[in-house]
């Protein structure tokens, strides 16, 4: 049924609908950023669509697409209570690019856009109250970006200094790295995946040898970095 909505959108907006997709039955339309608000408003108000039920707004980060393609996918899903069909709109935005807020179309976009701003750093134009929602104001960075290290901590209250005697004599993830993909290294062109299984499968060196071979700017330290050491945010993973 929502196939009809997709063709209706293409008919109505022409080149502003960049692509349509129905992978596994999920109907999705890729929209040009300038038509984002317009298409959403059309879907809500058109008698054939009546997409009055807001479902979700979220984003996905693809840093490796840059600079040819914009980095973020912002997705909004909605359904029609009367006609019971669903659709997902997708838009691609660059880092720092403003995207029209959908709060005037669906009230539910308010908190979800705040969440996308909080976790991805995508800014929305016309949002009435764009501030962090899940994290605290003092938080630096946007954690769901791929280049935010997964083991990084930013404690508002410093960790208690318990001294070396009470800590385990090894780092928290020595041996098996915490994340299986080191996105920082991958984005710097050193596409070494830290999981031994994945690395071999991709024709790479087993990750366990990174410890001895990696003599980049951050040479391996003699002591593993402890996540619970007081002081600056630290990073675990392959370089520990």
């Amino acid at each position: 049924m929502s196939k009809q909505v997709l063709s209706l959108l293409q008919e109505r907006f022409g080149a502003k609908i960049l692509a349509v997709d129905s992978f596994r039955g999920d109907d999705e339309a890729l929209v040009a950023p300038e038509a984002w608000h317009e298409v959403a408003l059309f879907l809500r108000d058109d008698a054939a669509c009546t997409m009055d039920h807001f479902i979700d707004l979220t984003a996905v980060d693809y840093p490796e697409r840059e600079p040819e393609q914009p980095r973020f996918d912002v997705l909004v899903s909605m359904r029609s209570q009367r006609k019971n069909h669903r659709l997902r709109l997708k838009v691609r935005v660059r880092d720092g690019q403003l995207l029209d807020s959908l709060t005037s179309v669906w009230a539910g976009a308010n908190w979800t856009e705040r969440e996308v701003y909080d976790l991805f750093g995508v800014r929305f134009k016309g949002h009435p109250d764009l501030r962090r929602i899940l994290l605290y104001e003092e938080f630096v960075g946007h954690p769901l970006r791929k280049d935010y290290p997964i083991a990084q901590t930013q404690p508002l209250v410093q960790y208690r200094d318990v001294g070396p005697a009470k800590l385990a004599p090894f780092g928290s993830d020595e041996g098996q790295p915490f994340g299986r993909i080191d996105w920082l290294a991958r984005m710097q062109g050193r596409n070494q995946q830290v999981s031994p299984a994945i690395a071999v499968q991709h024709g790479q060196q087993p990750a366990l040898s990174i410890r001895t071979e990696d003599t980049g700017p951050e040479a391996p330290q003699a002591q593993p970095v402890r996540p619970d050491q007081p002081g600056q945010p630290d990073q675990l993973g392959s370089k520990a």
Binding site: F23, R24, D26, D52, H53, F54, I55, D56, T58, V60, D61, L75, S77, Q81, N84, R88, W106, A107, G108, N110, W111, T112, E115, L119, R132, I133, L134, L135, Y136, P143, L144, Y148, I150, F178, G179, R180, I181, S195, P196, A197, I198, Q201
Partner: protein
């Protein structure tokens, strides 16, 4: 201390006109879990408020991007920790949709049984807390007693009372135990009994009705626009239930009804949850009759399902299969799907993206609580401070799911 308005007559003495700001939470007995409400008060009337979630944020979505797909199950358990089985099944269904497989019939029925048990425990907990916060402690104890018996069944099946980690991609961790049918048959009359008891004490109770009826109303249009789902949406009169509208796990073959309310107030939400527990019992009765005693519980695919342990220790093929699933993980094809089920609080969706490797590229949970909670701002505004507690209680905010 000098008087506030010494230049005025004593008869003309008024309270200061500027609004007072009051922090409710993050640590407050009525704030289930940790959540803060910044209230702007004029006397006892709430003129405006700001709900501040996030105190329980622990990076669920980021954590899921670190291991294999199967390693996400312990995390999804901890989203809605009152009905973790629904989350398990929801996530398993999402990955199965991405791989494009369907579990055997026996597994579907088993998932329905466990899911409905979890839904009963979820709704009972919400209504129990709602009664208790209005001063009715006895219904709370009755509900908790029955919830414990439901947890006993889940413990017998999964080995854990709350965080089961029982779902698997392409099936369940274990087949149903022999005692499941009898246990469910035994607990359904108990649930019915306690529902009747609580109905007798609460539903026509003058105090309860005065505190709940007409308090915290939500209109249909506003609820739809806010993305409200689940019992809260049905209380406003919209008959949207994922189990009926977009059936999964064979729900279209069960006979059950979707209760809807009329005004969308706190009382309607209470009553919708009560009736949904009855409907869940009705589904359970049908499901245990259908559950076959024999048959596969998992899909027959060595790339997805771990081999039997005795084969792992005795044959090289099973050892290799085990190693590959544990070390590399299940590898769904490249692509993205959004899969949604009816959770305890509404549409529990998972938008998952795979890059073809064994590690999730992105796992987005569409938390029903988070979107429902936003509507609490509308419902509370204009009411008194004392109304915050029943309204907020009927939203059934679960911190683990709301803040992820």
């Amino acid at each position: 201390m000098e008087p506030i308005y010494e230049h005025e007559e004593e008869t003309a003495l008024e309270l200061p006109a500027e609004p007072m700001r009051l922090n409710m939470g993050p640590s407050h007995p009525a704030m289930h879990g940790t959540i803060k409400m910044l209230l702007e008060l004029d006397g006892e009337v709430i003129k405006n408020l700001d709900i501040v979630p996030g105190y329980l944020h622990r990076g669920f979505e980021k954590s899921c991007e670190r291991g294999t797909w199967t390693q996400c199950f312990p995390y999804v358990d901890r989203l809605n920790y009152v009905s973790p089985m629904l989350n398990n099944v929801g996530f398993a269904l999402a990955v199965e949709k991405l791989i494009d497989i369907e579990v055997p019939e026996r597994c579907k029925i088993y998932r329905v049984i466990l899911g409905e048990l979890a839904r009963i425990s979820d709704h009972l907990t919400c209504n129990a807390a709602g009664c208790m916060e209005l001063g009715a402690f006895t219904p709370f104890l009755w509900f908790m007693k029955v919830r414990d018996w439901v947890y006993d069944i889940l413990e017998q099946e999964t080995g854990a009372r709350i965080t089961h980690t029982f779902g698997r991609i392409g099936g369940m961790a274990k087949p149903p135990t022999d005692g499941l049918k009898q246990a469910v048959r035994d607990v359904i009359p108990q649930v019915d009994k306690v529902l009747a008891e609580v109905s007798a004490t609460m539903v026509r109770n003058r105090i309860f009705m005065d505190r709940c009826q007409g308090v915290g109303c939500l209109s249909q249009e506003r609820a739809l626009s806010l993305g409200v789902t689940g019992p809260m949406l049905r209380a406003t009169g919209v008959d949207y239930d994922v189990r009926k509208a977009y059936p999964y796990s064979g729900y279209e073959t069960y006979d059950f009804e979707v209760p809807i309310g009329h005004d969308g107030d706190t009382y309607d939400r209470f009553m919708v949850r009560m009736e949904e527990v009855r409907q869940s019992c009705h589904i359970l009765q049908q499901a245990i009759e259908r559950l076959p005693d024999e048959g596969p519980i998992n899909v027959d695919d060595p790339r997805i399902i771990l081999p039997e342990k005795d084969e792992v220790y005795s044959t090289i093929e099973a050892t290799i299969a085990h190693f590959k699933i544990v070390m590399e993980g299940v590898k769904p094809p490249k692509g993205a799907v959004y899969s949604y089920t009816e959770g305890g609080n509404g549409e529990l969706g998972f938008y998952i993206v795979s890059d073809g490797s064994g590690t999730p590229y992105r796992v987005r949970c569409r938390p029903p609580c988070f979107l429902n909670l936003k509507s609490a701002e509308d419902m509370i505004r204009g009411n008194m401070i004392a109304d915050v507690v029943p309204i907020f209680g009927s939203v059934n905010m679960i911190g683990g799911e709301c803040d992820r």
